[in-house]
């Protein structure tokens, strides 16, 4: 029997799910191995009977918690996809402000209608089995995780920095071009997407294990950033990490 797969979204732009839908050349092959039974962005039918749940988005409301717990109960495997689901993503930025203040700033007069609490990734609420980071996810990596699950192998998410993939691609280092790049402390897996297309890494996949915080700070300040700028740059995507929080 084909595994039953569901997609869910919380606070997000839904771009990661769109990245899945965009796999137009692969979708037919994919659905010959899996049954997609719940995918609000792509289909009308919705079932609560599924084996694998891919979850996009961060948790930003009290009401998200019971919904997530239900998904965990229903699914054998829970796989958060994208920066929001894995590390809070850009939504995590609000945690650096006073909650009431940021709520008023965003929603203005209607703020009272919007319930919100400090942003957290999925794993802060329920146990997860694997994560596919990135903003958005790398569709190739998504496919590779799905294939690994289908043949019963542990999916491999790299534990080295973007520099590795950037070197393998033969790119000119962003610092050689006078640009700032967070690739040296950011988890690879994107195929050095941004540097390969002429833009420094923004750190969307989160930090590698044991990043050298002080040395990276030195690199960034030497490149012309103030310490405050450097911290703000990391907070776009990596505010969830202890090294960036303080």
């Amino acid at each position: 029997m084909k595994p039953r797969v569901a997609f869910f979204d919380f606070a997000s732009c839904e771009g990661c799910q769109l990245a899945v839908i965009n796999l137009e050349n692969e979708l037919l092959d994919l659905v010959s191995h899996i049954d997609i039974v719940n995918f609000r962005e792509a289909m009308t039918e919705a079932s609560d009977d599924y084996d694998i749940a891919f979850i996009e988005g961060s948790v930003t409301r009290e009401a998200d918690i019971p919904r997530l717990k239900k998904i965990r109960e229903n699914a054998k495997l829970v796989v958060p996809i994208g920066a929001c689901a894995c590390t809070g993503g850009v939504n995590f930025r609000k945690n650096f402000y006073e909650l009431g203040e940021i709520r008023n700033y965003v929603y203005g007069e209607s703020a009272k209608y919007f319930d919100t609490f400090a942003t957290r990734p999925v794993k802060a609420v329920i146990p997860v089995d694997f994560e596919i980071p990135g903003c958005p996810i790398n569709p190739k990596e998504f496919l590779s995780v799905v294939k690994s699950l289908l043949i019963g192998r542990k999916p491999e998410i790299p534990n080295h920095p973007v520099c590795v993939e950037c070197k393998l691609a033969g790119n000119v280092c962003m610092y050689d071009k006078g640009e700032v790049c967070l690739g040296a402390v950011t988890r690879a897996g994107c195929g050095a997407w941004c540097p390969s297309n002429g833009s420094g890494c923004e750190g969307c996949r989160g930090l590698v294990d044991e990043p050298n915080k002080n040395s990276e700070k030195e690199v960034l300040t030497k490149a012309g950033l103030t310490v405050e700028d450097a911290v703000q740059k990391f907070r776009i995507f990596a505010g969830y990490f202890e090294e960036v929080k303080k």
């Binding site: 070197k167 393998l168 033969g170 000119v172 071009k177 690739g183 040296a184 050298n212």
Partner: protein, 338 residues
């Protein structure tokens, strides 16, 4: 062996001759840097390049290389060899020596790496004598000049190039383009170019040399400098990945969407990366960055010395160039020998 004198026009002729039977790879401009790329026309070649982003190794042992194809249903695998003839044009002496190291590593003790050797046996190396640039330090590791390891070696001699054949194949090619035999004065000009190169080398080990650096490494295992480097190093692996003599790789299997046809690939790996020495159960033999740097520098200056009869660092300076915090083997060795 007899020398030839090649004018710029002759060099162009040489390249077009090569392009008839080889994929010609040469230094070309890439944004702010140079890189070894397959060329479409002679004019793309930059004879004045300083160094390249990646070493020419990438055309003999590519960053990602398919080793075999398999079918899960049949339990069968077929090896994949790429033996497209490639001419590596414009290699500096350090890179020529580095390829000699790779040749040895991929064939010694009857351990033949057929994937590397398939390409290497069909390859041609045309060297180009150089002048030092900001990061290199060849004289400290004994790779200033290439005496062998090339098919043809070109040394600037005035407006032309003094060409020597280093193999039968190289000699045949030089003869086929009807290059003019060199005069003694041409050989002298080439000799002068090399002498100037040697004079211009400023980045050096100040207390040890290519033969004694090994002993220094053995005495400095517990030196406090390794700990200092721990603070600076980002462990990004860039130094490994741009090194012409790093040949470690990781092997990964990838299966297509039909879940049956698959490929086994190897990818360049690096000992500076945290997972490199991690084993099943999670134990990491080189957990700290200081241990990994010490390993890398020893790997280049000490561990393989007896096997290769030389340091395996060739002093190309790519690692320093690529390092965002400028960790530098010359500074390390000089600090250790203080």
């Amino acid at each position: 062996m007899q020398g030839f004198l090649l004018t710029k026009e002759n060099i162009k002729g040489l390249v077009s001759e090569l392009m008839k039977s080889y994929r010609v790879v040469a230094p070309v401009k890439k944004e702010t840097r140079f890189d070894f790329c397959e060329i479409e026309k002679f004019e793309d070649i930059r004879m004045d390049y300083d160094t390249t982003i990646l070493p020419p190794k990438k055309h003999l042992s590519p960053p990602v290389e398919t080793l075999l194809k398999f079918k899960r249903s049949e339990n069968k695998a077929e090896p994949v060899f790429d033996n497209t003839p490639v001419a590596l044009f414009g290699l500096h002496p350090c890179d020529i020596k580095a390829i000699r190291h790779l040749d040895q590593a991929f064939s010694e003790n009857n351990n033949y790496d057929r994937h590397y050797l398939a390409k290497r046996e069909k390859s041609l190396i045309i060297g180009l004598e150089c002048q030092p640039y900001d990061y290199c330090f060849c004289s400290s590791v004994g790779s200033t000049f290439a005496k062998d390891g090339f098919d043809i070696m070109l040394t600037p001699a005035g407006d032309s190039y003094f060409a020597e054949a280093g193999s039968k194949k190289g000699e045949e090619i030089l003869k086929s383009i009807q290059a003019k035999p060199a005069q003694e004065s041409d050989a002298k000009k080439a000799e002068q170019f090399r002498a100037e190169k040697e004079k211009k080398i400023v980045r050096k080990f100040n207390k040890v040399n290519a033969s004694t650096v090994k002993e220094l490494m053995e005495k400095t295992w517990d030196h406090k400098h390794w700990k200092e480097l721990e603070e600076r190093c980002l462990a990004c692996g860039s130094c490994n990945l741009v090194c012409p003599t790093c040949f470690c790789f990781d092997v990964q299997d990838d299966v297509s969407l039909n879940l049956n046809d698959g490929e086994r690939k190897r990818l360049w790996d690096g000992c500076m990366l945290v997972d490199f020495a991690k084993v099943a159960g999670g134990e990491n033999f080189r957990e700290h960055r200081s241990q990994r740097i010490r390993h890398r520098i020893n790997r280049k200056m000490n561990y393989l010395y007896d096997r290769f009869n030389s340091p395996t660092c060739v002093g190309c300076g790519r690692c320093v160039r690529a390092c965002t915090v400028k960790i530098d083997p010359v500074e390390i060795v000089n600090e250790l020998s203080k």
